[in-house]
Assembly symmetry: C2
Homo-oligomer: 493 residues x 2
């Protein structure tokens, strides 16, 4: 067994450590010398690229266009929207100088005090302010609307406690920023993009999500409403995996963005913004993977099939190579990414463990016996089941299996999730049970006081008011006051 695999912490022993181990051992990412910033390694980045490609396509199908806005934002821009600055000022990286100079001993460089900026610039924590400052010049009449721009970029939020993918000071994301003539249109856009995220999570990541609306406390800084998709990890904790915001006219007012309506009267523009980030990688890893390593849904796996020959001597290798080559070609023609690993410096057992660790969905192995019998061994990573099957029609069998794995992962995750969603009406019971994780559907009186008490007592937070849940009024389990609806409460990442 590969050394890497032996050292992987078991989920049951320490789920959090298992995750940290896995990110490093599966070659997804590593810490950098800059506090809280990670290096995304080629294998991890290849997964992110596949996510990006599909999301980008889905965004464009809604009419969004990509653009690029500056990394640096004048400090004063942040202050223009009062809630926004409250939310982000405390975690801004600030550029104060634009030049270094040699130190007196000539051995190092130091900040050149003569090159101080008149106004400090912050590295974007998000781009509403610079974008709405720009939209002011783009929007004049109702004919200029809607505007739907997206950008794929890096952002920086100086976090005190960081974890790879889940919470890093610098992260990669996309941020969509749209401008609309009416409130209705903007609200519809925010909901539409949430549905796009949910569809992507389920169909591509095989991660089922709960869609809903955040409480006021949990809203994006500057939003009137924040919509969210919440996924459940294998420890029963929630991971907020994507959000879209109905921003009302807040940013239009702060940056004085008006348009002339059809009656030639000026009105403030309505806004949304929406984003997903490399955090999705965290969800992908935590939902499916196991004690042997990553488990990747085929649609996002950089390598979908690995083929390993086990041979004695060069003649047999040559015969197996010749037998396998048409299958490799056939699979690639089908658009399936194949790695043929005939490297002779690693033992089969090492390779098996390594590709399991990396989550390759299907493994084919051919040995001398298979060659004689016209068979091949096929293993699926999701269940670790393996069987010896006929070599004939193997490509089609692999194709079918990949589809099956994709479906099975979603179903498995859905079953797990559904088995850990509970209605709960008693606070004492809740406090006991929340320790084991899970999503709790509880009546809430709508006050921040109750919300704060739950958080203080249990570290759990209101994740959202779920859309797809038949609501009935009831009684808040904490305050005993009347409650209009149930919310989902959970501990979260």
């Amino acid at each position: 067994m590969a050394k890497e695999l032996k050292d992987l912490t078991k989920r049951a022993d320490n789920y959090s450590q298992w995750y940290n181990d896995l990110v490093v051992k599966a070659d997804l990412a590593e810490q950098s010398p800059v506090r809280g910033c990670m290096i995304i390694k080629p294998y991890g980045f290849a997964i992110w690229e596949k996510m990006k490609e599909q999301l980008d396509k889905m965004f464009k199908e809604t009419g969004a266009q990509n653009a690029y806005f500056p990394l640096l934002i004048p400090k004063s821009f942040l202050s223009r929207e009062a809630e926004h600055v409250k939310g982000f000022a405390k975690e801004c990286a600030v550029v104060t100088h634009y030049r270094l100079k040699s130190s007196e001993d000539g051995c190092s460089v130091e900040v050149d005090p003569a090159a101080r900026l008149d106004e400090e610039l912050v590295i974007r924590p998000t781009s509403e302010t610079i974008i709405w400052n720009t939209y002011k010049n783009w929007i004049h009449s109702w004919r200029d609307l809607p505007i739907m721009c997206n950008q794929w970029c890096n952002v920086m939020r100086w976090e005190m406690r960081t974890r790879p993918f889940l919470r890093t000071s610098e992260f990669l994301w996309q941020e969509g920023h749209t401008a609309h003539a009416t409130r209705e249109e903007a609200e519809e856009e925010a909901k539409k993009m949430l549905h796009v995220y949910a569809k992507f999570a389920e169909e591509w990541m095989a991660v089922p999500v709960v869609q809903g609306v955040k409480s006021e406390t949990e809203r994006f800084a500057g939003a009137l409403d924040t919509y969210t998709i919440e996924a459940m990890m294998q420890d029963g904790k929630a991971l907020q995996s994507g959000t879209s915001h109905f921003l009302g006219q807040n940013f239009a007012k702060s940056f004085d963005v008006t348009y002339l309506n059809k009656d030639n009267k000026p009105e403030y523009v309505w806004a949304t913004s929406w984003g997903v980030s490399t955090r999705l990688m965290g969800a992908l890893i935590m939902v499916h993977s196991d004690d042997n390593g990553l488990v990747l849904p085929p649609k996002l796996a950089p390598i979908q099939v690995v083929i390993i020959p086990i041979t004695k001597g060069a003649d047999q290798l040559q015969a197996i190579n010749a037998k396998l080559q048409p299958v490799i070609d056939r699979l690639r023609d089908m658009g399936i990414s194949v790695k043929y690993d005939d490297a002779d410096n690693k033992r089969p057992g090492f390779k098996f463990a390594d590709y399991e660790l990396k989550g390759v969905p299907v493994r084919l192995v051919m040995g001398g016996r298979d060659l004689e019998d016209n068979t091949i061994e096929i293993m699926r990573r999701d269940t670790l089941e393996k069987e010896s099957v006929s070599f004939d029609g193997i490509a089609e069998r692999v194709e079918g299996l990949l589809e099956d794995i994709q479906k099975n992962l979603l179903e498995k995750a859905k079953n797990y999730r559904d088995a850990h969603v509970y209605e709960c009406d008693n606070y004492e019971e809740f406090k006991e049970r929340i320790k084991d994780g899970g999503f709790y559907l509880c009546h809430w009186d709508g006050t921040p006081e109750t919300e704060a008490k739950i958080k203080e007592d249990t570290q759990a937070t209101i994740r959202c008011v779920p859309f797809a849940y038949e609501q009935t009024p009831g009684v808040d389990m904490v305050s005993g006051k009347p409650a209009k609806c149930r919310v989902i409460i959970a501990r979260s990442y």
Copy 2:
């Protein structure tokens, strides 16, 4: 005629102003409130996306993999390679603080002096230092080599004079960083990537380039050799459009990156880096465009064909729509991007001028007469020639025309370039003629003194020693000393 077009400066009047106008009027980019940083608008970004997509494919075909390294680099990293820090320290944006706080009057935010970083961080001007610091952990034995990573990202170099795409403080680029076991392999990689750039420039941008090696003065800070592709703009000036660097063992030594060779002995690793940036957009614009606006090569045009109906009344519009729809579908099936513009709030003349300004390669127009005659008007943007042709087989005709335009643009640019490359042996003559632009092939004695004198006298610089030029020894036109080869001298952007 559209107002935008009327205001476009003519190339002959002021080439530089024409360029600045065009970037804004064609909706490619605009200035941002942050000094020297631009906003890339959706139309401009769509061109850049097409460039990225093709380049990325070509890089991956060479075996490169994408990854992501941190935006911020510890100040001390820069100092590790002596030449490198000299080259970049003077233009670094420096992060000194990680938090803002409310000002005393509560109306704005200011830097929180309590949140000063122990060590300042610079926004990457390029990533050799942070990447070689990382490679140290990735490389142990010859089996780990080569490593070929690329990243698409933003970088920042604080420039005093900026121009959209050509020189901006923040720009988008890709930077490849490779690590090799031998000097030969690294040199070969640097040259290979230069050829990839040249191929891309010619086949996709329709921009012919001269490939060559830079003089020592013009080398990348920290390189042993810098290879370059140089394109000629319509004013005869050179634009350095891409570079690849053979870095020797400089960064391996600075960051102590060694590997065990096959004899189990430690050796320093050999390095290259290579990059192209949004500067390519500048080359694309300046090489092909004319006084009517952008001229885009079909392979990079976001809209390849625009179709405009000219109608009187709703019935005729309906008939024309019905006639055109199958052609639109057919073109899209062929993978051609089509815009059908039947908006009724703009006059045809405005639309014509606008799509010319935006460089759409082919325009089709159908009016009532065409409907009766089964004809359609077709115009090609590169020559502005239009003709009335049979409607039958129009999709195939458009497809052929797009290929023809792509070829014609390259040929035209090649002819222009070739007509403005001169051998020159007399310095007085050179000083006169360089005022009119052009590439001058002159013997050079190889000294920085001569190079400096030429620059001082004429603002022209040595662009490169071209690879594809049959060299004969001669006499330096400035110093009268013996010279081994001719170099290309030109004024440049």
